[in-house]
Symmetry: C3
Subunit: 333 residues, 3 copies
Amino acid sequence: MAIRFSSTGLVVGEDTRFSLPAFVDAILRGVGQVMLMNNAWTGLLFLAGIFLNSALFGAAALLGTAVSTATALLLGADRASIRDGLFGFNGGLVAIALLYFLEPNPLTWGCVVFAAAGSTIVMAAMASLLDTWKVPALTAPFVFTSLCFFLATARFGRLETTNLLPTAGLPQTAAVEGVVTAATVGEGLFNGIAQVFFQGSLLTGIVFAIGLLVGSWRACVAALAGSLVGILVAWGMGAAEPAIRAGAFGFNSVLVAIAFGAVFLAPGRGATFAYALLATIATPVVFAAVSAALEPLGVPALTLPFVLVTWLFLFASQRFLGLSRAAAKDSPH
Amino acid sequence: MAIRFSSTGLVVGEDTRFSLPAFVDAILRGVGQVMLMNNAWTGLLFLAGIFLNSALFGAAALLGTAVSTATALLLGADRASIRDGLFGFNGGLVAIALLYFLEPNPLTWGCVVFAAAGSTIVMAAMASLLDTWKVPALTAPFVFTSLCFFLATARFGRLETTNLLPTAGLPQTAAVEGVVTAATVGEGLFNGIAQVFFQGSLLTGIVFAIGLLVGSWRACVAALAGSLVGILVAWGMGAAEPAIRAGAFGFNSVLVAIAFGAVFLAPGRGATFAYALLATIATPVVFAAVSAALEPLGVPALTLPFVLVTWLFLFASQRFLGLSRAAAKDSPH
Amino acid sequence: MAIRFSSTGLVVGEDTRFSLPAFVDAILRGVGQVMLMNNAWTGLLFLAGIFLNSALFGAAALLGTAVSTATALLLGADRASIRDGLFGFNGGLVAIALLYFLEPNPLTWGCVVFAAAGSTIVMAAMASLLDTWKVPALTAPFVFTSLCFFLATARFGRLETTNLLPTAGLPQTAAVEGVVTAATVGEGLFNGIAQVFFQGSLLTGIVFAIGLLVGSWRACVAALAGSLVGILVAWGMGAAEPAIRAGAFGFNSVLVAIAFGAVFLAPGRGATFAYALLATIATPVVFAAVSAALEPLGVPALTLPFVLVTWLFLFASQRFLGLSRAAAKDSPH
């Protein structure tokens, strides 16, 4: 059965390219694109990993990805991008984030739908903006849309928070807190991968890693290496042990490591490997900085550090002849 | 009589195109452009509305618009843009804003002149920057220039504030405050339009609406609808009643509704109407977010939410084939 | 003796263009480029001025400039830019800044090397970004890289600060503090120049001025005039006397005055002179604003005001026919 949008007057003609299976495929790829994987099976395993930990977040991920993908269809965005899930992943993340930080009442569910649709507008806007430099928007639409709603809780009395948002405060110099053990590293390793979808679960992290493996063994190795680098740098710099164990310093490094270890650079040369490593090492530092910079606003850093570091190293790579960039067809975004 | 800038050595040749009537026309259009209307009569009615409420702000609007327009002439900016008032409206708003938040002493008036001239530099800079995407600067030069002076009051002891600037604080979760009645909606509707020029006056709002009607009946309807949407969204989300009544959640929505209901999109199609509505609904949420984000700095959001939402939906519109953009000649900016 | 990077596999072929003397020349020019001077003698005098005040900062400047220049070589950046010191000056500044605000322990020295290398990535990224408008990155890479580490001290317990970072707080309206005397102006004049490199020393300021004179008499005059304008504007607006005396309102004005008085605009015409003066006058106001805006984060403004004002006036200059821009060959960046 073909989903026909022609009745709304938005999509004219006999456009049957978006059959229900095609729509489901786009949603699954959208979930996979959260970790830059254009692969429906990877997306399915990611969804399984989320549902294993929480049916609420699993449902949110599905709804958000579906709404943002459908919005892109209704507004007439590029079909190939929609099919690759590029208008889905930000909506999925926005939905999880809103339900993580806001009470799941009807108003919040309304905001989830509105914000998922809005993430498609932000995605299109950033694609227009960044097209000048052939750099992708990454999860910036998710970050901006989510932060907008979290900040708005300070003005809107009916937006009820789950009290998981950080308390607004003024940044203070940190002290070393707790002792890093093998358990910190072991749990942190998979929590770092699970936290990409806001899941604090070892098992979910392992299922996510399998999902990556199905899509690309390089991406799986890069994710684990990225999570480890995040832990080691945070440990070396004296970050708090509970945060390291929870994967807080890992999830952005996971994404940066996938981006430069498996997606945007061609493998094989020394300078390229060093470049990817440098980006991954920089990520926990940028995470610490962004997290502190947002402390007066009482909002989390989300994947903004991943976005900033990846943009930085992608923009810069255009100036470095010593690097081998991946062929365009390998870059899904 | 022709105003001749040739004596300053800045404008060479027998350039008599800027006669005094032409200069006055540019100023009136500049005042009109605050609500995206390239119409001298609209500008005149806006001025009348301001003077009705406050001679101080009326004089400030005239002075600021004149100074920023003259600066553009002296530096050799594009004549057509100057004639359309595009180098005037930010100066006019800067002048009102500075006199609203700073005591009207000689230093403040000096700052008004300097800031109005400066807003022309910011306008030219943003025009260069945004020309890459054919997106207008809107009131961003007004926002950045004004915020610069408000922030500087924390370092400059001789800049005396009127104590209307918000107190710097850390954002807290809001509670519902006050009860919205028919009076809230009725007053808020016109206050929302009046607040575009910092005027908290029902009568001024009505005169502004007439000014819009003279320029474009679509713009007038859009402004009223935008103000109403701002009130309804803020009410539904649980914003404080006094703020809704004062038009705080309305003035940005008014501008966004004019932008997408009467200026940048061609009317008539369902998707286009839905797009304009989505932008208008998003505006009070973005206003709440921007207002909260600026709370630690103790400065107001001004029309930054309008600028951000309009940029967002304009950038994005370039990716959506389902929308009908207005012909270039209809877009005054 | 030729430094050969070919052994690393990064620079292929018999590339002997970077002999040791060439590398030293690039480093000295890099130090000179901190004040936009592409001149090795100027750089040498700047280094002498720093060493006169502090061997630690002198060593840091050398190390940072060397590391960031070498990183650019290893990654294969444009040779001509490297030779002109354009990949050196941000690294030199980052190194001084980190050692000014962080205790000089092994971790900090490690961060200095990492941050200097990172500043080259930021430089390349900003060059790619800003190339669209032919506008230089200036010291933005230094500012962003340094702020990242200062902010991270709120999360990393092993990053020990020297307690010179401003305490995080909420901006309050300022009161006039202290009396400006001839000594304030005299000391502030040269401190303003010395503070470009974080040096609070009259003598260092004088040596810097001589260094500028060697590179360009215009730059020397502009620097002194810029420092004076910074002092006078800050005084007139009621800034605190100790800050004026320390050169806090001067160093950004010094850089802006050099940029528009000796580098980016061709001298000679009235409008051009007025434009440069307007930029220099705006700088202390922007400094006050940026400094207040960063107060909740507890980090200093560094040369961000210089970067913002210079970008603003450079972007804007493309729209003003009344200005005479310098020929491309005169613009070192």
